[in-house]
């Protein structure tokens, strides 16, 4: 009887240890201690600001950055795009070794043409992506990004995740940039991603 009990405890212990090992492995894998990392991101097929379609499979081998925003956003979006543009300038030719996407969550107002006009203010390497409401909802879900339409007396605005996702050449989350992280930190994160470590 005691033998059985010991064996059971042994099994429990072994199970706990293996769970711990998996968690530890995930944390080590994702660098920034983001256990969710393995589940963030996924395939997408959206319309670019030039009106063509972009499939995520075509990005294989190229790291990329994804930001969810909208052009009627007065603060976080232009600030983020401006900061990113400044960093791309500092990166120089290395900046061409990855891609940058601004995914609009405002499928009602942000047409490809309007996205193109808006993004013409920033670094030309930043590409706007849009799609149907369902397509955008699916992409946001796969990135665990949240957005909510908020009605106001004169119109509407959006709440949205302000994180920039940095995806490696295999489309897996490598790191994230939070709103207004220092320019130096952002630069280092992009360099690390471009150089593949």
């Amino acid at each position: 009887m005691r033998l059985v009990r010991n064996a059971l405890w042994g099994a429990v212990l072994a199970a706990l240890l293996s769970v711990g090992a998996v968690v530890l492995f995930q944390r080590v894998q994702t660098g920034d201690g983001l256990p969710l990392a393995a589940r963030i991101g996924g395939p997408f097929d959206l319309v670019t600001h030039d009106g063509t379609r972009l499939r995520s499979e075509s990005l294989k081998g190229t790291p990329f950055a994804v930001f969810f925003g909208f052009t009627y956003c007065p603060d976080v979006c232009p600030t983020t795009m401006l900061e990113l543009s400044n960093i791309l300038k500092r990166l120089g030719p290395d900046a061409d070794r990855m891609r940058y996407f601004f995914v609009s969550v405002d499928t009602e107002r942000d047409t490809p043409e309007h996205l193109k006009l808006y993004l013409s203010n920033f670094d030309a390497r930043i590409m706007g992506l849009t799609g149907t409401a369902e397509e955008i909802a699916a992409v946001a879900r796969s990135y665990r990004a949240i957005y909510q339409k908020v009605p106001t007396s004169e119109g509407f605005t959006y709440n949205h995740t302000a994180t920039m996702y940095l995806m490696d050449r295999n489309g897996r989350l490598a790191s994230t940039i939070s709103y207004q992280e220092s320019e130096e930190t952002q630069l280092q994160k992009l360099k690390r991603l471009i150089n593949g470590n």
Partner: protein, 157 residues
Amino acid sequence: MKRMIASSLVVAALAAGPAAAEDYKAGSLKIEAPWTRATPVGSKVAGGFMKIENTGKEADRLVGGSATVAGKFEVHEMAMIDNMMKMRELAGGLEIGPGKSVELKPGSFHVMFMDLKETLKEGDKVKGTLKFEKAGTVEVEYAVRAMGAQGGQMKKH
């Protein structure tokens, strides 16, 4: 000595940054240095910022206003919560308690210019009004600062 201090204050004020925006008075309210930001071409919205001080004995509320460049105007609050940008309209206005001052600044309370009719450029001035529940309507002018400017009185980033 006094004059020396005064002139060094002037120098400090001049050195502090771009053209000091004006202050305005409405009843017991003092509105300091309204400013807004240059907008990207194609942008239809901009935030307006300022500090409002209430030297009176009663609370007042900023309930609305206008800007010549905007079709619509609202009073908003923004907050970053867990990396999420949250925006809401202050339907009942923004209260400025007696003896208190409230700063409208990026990432917090602001007025929202909507349906912008033109792109705002750094160095421009934007005329408008602010409407208070008790102090009434006051005309103000916003200094347009650089895109991405984060504020602080007179501070330029």
